[in-house]
């Protein structure tokens, strides 16, 4: 048992390392993705909220000050970037559609595990670098956030990433049947973007919808951690998010496993 456990970690750490090594091979792309892109996003948010408050000529909008919005605007895209899996989801879909998955199927590797570990490895590396931008802005403008709450908030987003990956796994199984599922990926990611509260803070949504959304796992990706670090919510909302994410993972994994097994039965080993 101990041997299996060690082998499991050894293998998965190697997958994480693979993501880091592969991405660092392309230094320029990595630098843009991990540093320049977050910096530009933060810049846009700053300009947008400055302009909104300037033109509104008001100290508060919807009960929140400019600094509240700035804090949300700076941290929501940062956490939102962690909470998506565009790159790895399209790689998973492409593997199934093109038949490159043959390499995984003929080795003692689990497709789910292989991509999950890579996703985590990549996200940990990029998060460390891309966090510089929101930290600098928060410090410079003295935005209202609780620094001590950052580890738990980021921890929640990484936990939510397990759910995001499981949903990517489910989507990728559709490629066994339909080959091209890009549109499905797009619709799913846009929906998650909205439900997570990155596009519009959940506070600004109609109360009934906001209440319902907060019971779902999706705000764990953006709204809950941002609300927690900016002081708009307490640890009870974080706990509730952990629970709803756990329940969702428990539901999504068997669905993915079922579709995966059915998909393999119809798989033709494309391209080999």
């Amino acid at each position: 048992m101990k041997k299996l456990f060690i082998a499991f970690w050894r293998r998965n750490l190697a997958f994480s390392e693979l993501a880091v090594v592969s991405n660092l091979e392309y230094r320029f792309n990595f630098f843009i993705d991990a540093f320049v892109q977050p910096l530009i996003t933060v810049g846009i948010e700053l300009l947008m909220w400055f302009a909104i408050f300037e033109s509104a000529n008001a100290a508060q909008i919807g009960g929140f000050t400019r600094d509240n919005y700035l804090a949300y605007g700076v941290w929501a895209p940062f956490l939102g970037r962690i909470a998506v899996s565009w790159m790895y989801e399209s790689m998973m879909v492409e593997e199934v559609a093109s038949g490159s998955i043959n390499v995984i199927l003929t080795r003692p590797i689990s497709f789910y595990e292989y991509y999950l570990s890579q996703l985590m490895g990549y996200k940990v590396t990029t998060t460390i670098i891309s966090m510089i931008a929101p930290l600098l802005v928060t410090f410079f403008f003295d935005l209202p956030i609780h620094y001590s709450r950052l580890p738990l908030a980021i921890g929640l987003v990484f936990y939510y990433l397990f759910l995001v990956h499981t949903l990517s796994f489910v989507i990728s199984t559709f490629a066994f049947y339909m080959t091209r599922v890009r549109s499905l990926t797009l619709v799913k990611n846009l929906t998650l973007w909205l439900l997570a509260g990155e596009l519009v803070p959940i506070d600004l949504m109609p109360p009934a919808i906001a209440k319902l959304l907060l019971l779902s796992p999706f705000p764990a990706g953006v709204y809950t951690p941002v609300a927690y670090i900016t002081g708009r919510a307490g640890s009870e909302l974080v706990l509730q998010s952990f629970i709803s994410v756990t329940v969702s993972i428990i539901i999504a994994i068997p669905v993915g496993t079922f579709l995966w097994r059915k998909g393999l039965q119809s798989y033709t080993g494309t391209g080999a």
Binding site: R11, A14, L18, S100, R107, T268, G271
Partner: protein, 312 residues
């Protein structure tokens, strides 16, 4: 006797969508699609013992890659039974996967963006190998293939021949008991083909895995295979040794000649019994300045045999 590979009445059908020409039919296809079922493999029964190199030969679409995919667990059979090392391959049990390897000559198995050495280190962890033992094995195999100098180069920057050598090392790193090689020399120049053939020959002699080899280069099969399986339209049409196959087919000869005004040599293939008749024909048709008679090579015999089979 226990066999490493056993199949009984193994078959696989593929369902294919039939798209009729034109935009209207594309629109119609949104809700109503016509599918046809095509058998790719029909009732194949096989028994393969340990330590054999089996050459699997057939024309494109004959079913050889389908057979390889079923044996390696990539796809499910539609009917029949299959056991490889005592496992049903399609169940993809870890113990089975740890003991076999599939090398697809037309696909990369290693990671494109990293060096071969990094790939091997990852493979060692996937197969739970001792890292020092794996390093020793990489050293040994790369020396055998004379490619130590490219181990630290990113895979995407290697030539086709170098990349294939790297792929071969990767597929042998965990010392598999069964090795499926699908076109391992495809696209390689003669020197690289020969290097890989020689390597495989000495590797199999030393480590004794079961090897199932498909190739369009008959030299691969003639040099390496102990046993030949010929497959045509999904059915096994020959199962035996290469020598027995050559003896069982009609003995053919090749007449190579050149007329005085010709720039290039001409060739004529005929049965041994027709020698005088064909010689007369050639001599009567012009002034022959060069003439020789050769045995028809293995590749030609196979092609003629399969062409005949596929017309049936």
């Amino acid at each position: 006797m226990s066999f490493v590979i056993e199949t009984k009445d193994l078959g696989r059908e593929y369902k294919t969508y039939q798209k009729k020409e034109g935009v209207l039919n594309s629109i119609k296809g949104m809700w109503n699609r016509e599918y046809i079922s095509k058998p790719a493999l029909k009732n194949v029964t096989l028994e393969i013992e340990g330590g054999q190199i089996v050459g699997l030969v057939g024309a494109n679409g004959a079913g050889k890659t389908t057979l390889l995919k079923i044996l390696s667990g990539l796809i499910y059979p539609t009917h029949g039974s299959v056991k490889v090392l005592g496992f049903e391959p399609w169940k993809r049990e870890t113990e089975f996967l740890r003991q076999m390897s599939l090398l697809l000559g037309q696909k990369n198995q290693l990671w494109w963006d990293i060096s071969a050495r990094d790939s091997y280190s990852l493979l060692a962890k996937i197969y739970d190998l001792d890292i020092d033992t794996a390093r020793m094995r990489v050293k040994h195999l790369s020396e055998m293939l004379s490619c130590e100098h490219v181990l630290d180069t990113q895979l995407r920057r290697l030539s086709l021949g170098e990349r294939m050598k790297m792929e071969i090392i990767g597929s042998l790193l965990h010392n598999p008991r069964v090795l499926f090689l699908d076109e391992p020399t495809i696209g390689l120049d003669i020197v690289a083909q020969s290097a890989i053939r020689n390597f495989l020959q000495s590797y199999v002699r030393d480590y004794k895995p079961v090897v199932i080899l498909t190739s369009h280069y008959m030299d691969d099969i003639a040099q390496l295979a102990d046993r030949l399986l010929l497959i045509s339209k999904g059915e096994m049409v020959y199962d035996g040794t290469v020598n027995r196959f050559l003896k069982s087919t009609e003995t053919s000869k090749k007449l190579i000649y050149r007329y005085k005004n010709d720039q290039q040599e001409r060739e004529l293939i005929f049965q041994e019994s027709e020698l005088s008749e064909k010689l007369n024909e050639v001599v009567k048709s012009g002034e022959v300045v060069n003439l020789k008679i050769e045995e028809v090579d293995f590749e030609e015999v196979i092609h003629r045999f399969l062409a005949k089979e596929s017309r049936i």
